[in-house]
Every structure is written in structure tokens, then in C-alpha cells.
Symmetry: C2
Subunit: 185 residues, 2 copies
């Protein structure tokens, strides 16, 4: 999924500025499975305009820089539907921490401890953040879109499972590092 498609997707949910699109990938609903930087969003938005897939409206603000609000055109909506009709590429997890932990025996024990504890905390924080958003929506009695609900629930389930696995294997790892290699039971 390139950034152009990602922008199309965010805009399909309603008008937005480049800045707001960035936020959608930082704290918004896409935060846990896609990302994009300013350096790719703004050029993508320009292309969308050039191709007639979006239109923009400048809005003045007092005491703030003007914002440029983008909105999909009919052609943009069609392009978005074509895009989500494509076959998805397989999931990809990139984890430097897992990579380091793989080499735990080459690392000082304190480092491994800090690494795994920080890792658990960050996964817990992610799960809490998403769960907070879900609770908010539910409490507001807002309409529940089944797709969005499933995806955010997925984030919570997976992050929790990751944190729980690490928490319950943390001590065994640390103990294992104190001894020479052992055979499996």
C-alpha cells in the first residue's frame, strides 16, 4: 500500500488536511498497522490533486497557519474502491527488539532486562491506548462499524498476547542466561 492509497483511504472517511492525515498514522485508527511521514504525504496529496482524485480548499485560521482541507472527488472515490479491490500483500513485522533478544546471550544481562521490560511496557501502552479509544466509542453510544471494530480489537488482542508472553517468559530468559546452555526437557 503506497502513501497515495493510504491518503485516499483516510480521505474516504471525510475531509482532512495533510497534518491530520499524518496524525491518523500516529495516533489514529491506522497507527498500529500502517505509517507515513510528511515527506511522503504532501507529495502524495499533490498528485491526488493533479490527477483529479481530490480537491482542496484553503481555510484561514486566526493565529495559525492556513490549512488546506482535502476532499475526495467522485473519481477519487472510484480509485479508492479499485485500490481496496487489489490483492493484499502478506503482513510484515519488523522488530529490532526481537532481533536483539535473539542474541541475548551476547548481551549484558542488565541490557536484556531493560530491553524486555521496555518492550513489555510499550506493548501494554499500545494495547491500553487502543482500548481507550474503543471504550470511548462504546461509552459515547456511537455507531459501531464492524470492520473498524474488528481491526482495533485485533490490535488489543495481539499487543496483549505479546506483552503477556514476554512477561511470563521474562524470568526464565534471565535465569537461562546465567547458566551455560541446557538441553530441552
Amino acid at each position: 500500500m503506497d502513501v497515495k492509497t493510504l491518503c485516499l483511504a483516510v480521505l474516504s472517511q471525510g475531509e482532512a488536511t495533510g497534518y491530520e492525515i499524518k496524525k491518523a498514522f500516529e495516533e489514529g485508527p491506522f497507527a498500529h498497522f500502517q505509517r507515513a511521514s510528511f515527506g511522503s504525504i504532501y507529495p502524495a496529496l499533490s498528485k491526488l490533486l493533479a490527477e483529479g482524485l481530490a480537491e482542496a480548499e484553503a481555510r484561514e485560521q486566526d493565529g495559525r497557519p492556513d490549512k488546506k482541507v482535502y476532499r475526495l472527488t467522485a473519481a477519487g472515490r472510484a480509485a479508492f474502491h479499485r485500490a481496496i479491490g487489489q490483492e493484499p500483500e502478506p503482513d510484515q513485522l519488523r522488530s529490532d527488539v526481537l532481533f536483539l533478544l535473539y542474541f541475548a546471550r551476547e548481551l549484558p544481562k542488565e541490557r536484556v532486562e531493560a530491553l524486555i521490560d521496555g518492550y513489555i511496557a510499550s506493548y501494554r501502552a499500545q494495547a491500553d491506548r487502543i482500548e481507550g479509544c474503543r471504550a470511548e466509542r462504546a461509552a459515547a453510544g456511537a455507531e459501531i462499524d464492524p470492520g473498524k471494530w474488528l481491526v482495533s480489537g485485533f490490535g488489543v488482542a495481539v499487543y496483549r498476547a505479546a506483552a503477556d508472553y514476554l512477561a511470563s517468559n521474562r524470568d526464565a530468559l534471565l535465569r537461562g542466561l546465567e547458566r551455560p546452555l541446557e538441553a530441552a526437557e
Copy 2:
């Protein structure tokens, strides 16, 4: 983690050819959290040679093309330890399927069904694959490296959690798509 560091890491486990390094990212121990293509591995290996971090030995084979077996030098080993001393970047999941599922309401029901079923199957397959490797090691009475054991266990735990979550929310999603938007309970 760039490909050069990844190659350093694979070679720290023993000598290997470019082809074997590729396999380590496809089916090997790194498969579920890092990847690299031939187009990046071979140039990385050349750089390693040029910088004196690795040395290569050509080995003839009957009926097969010659292989070039790479091995770390002392400098290479030091470079690897410097690399794993660096602070890791945060994990990154990129999932097109989740992205599509987020827009389930814009998709035909059959497509959503195929998407989620395929997704569950691929996660189950991943978990089974890793579990197979673990069982093999354990059965062989092989030495257990605590870091490696933790990392492969992580893969199993997370993939299983993902598949289980999707399996138990699949029907609710499909049912939800048949009705107009609902309020949260």
C-alpha cells in the same frame, strides 16, 4: 537494522552463502521479524568483504554452481557486537489485510469472508511452522539458547493469538455487515 547488520548477524551464527542467508529470512529463525532480498544481500556481502568484516572462500560443487562461503573476521565480530549495542527502533507492523478489513463495509461480503479466512489460515500456518521447528529442536535434545527460544516462542504466541482473535470474531463481523450500523451495547 539494515541488511549489512542482518548479514553480520546471520554470519555470527556460523559461515553461510548469500543463498543461505536469504533462506534464513524466508524460513529460518528470522523469518517472522526481518527480511531481505538477494538484491540487497549480495551487495551487502561485498561491502562486508571490502571492509574486512568478512572473508569468503569459493567452494566447488558437482552439478551445481560454485558457492561462495562467507565467514566473519575478528573485526566483523566486533562490528556485530557494536551493532547489537545500539538502541532498537520501535516495532513496525505493516498489514494490508487489516487495512482492507478496516473498510469491510465497502467490500462485497464474499470478499471479506475470503480475506479473513485466508488471513486466519496464513497465521495458523506460520504458527505451525515455527512450532514445528521448536518441537524438532526439543525432540533432538539439542541445546536450548534462551534468547532464541524466547523469540520463536513469541512468534508462536502472537500468531496464535491473532488467528484465535480473528476466528472468534469472524462471524460477528460477517453478521454486522448484513445490518446497518448499530450502536455499541
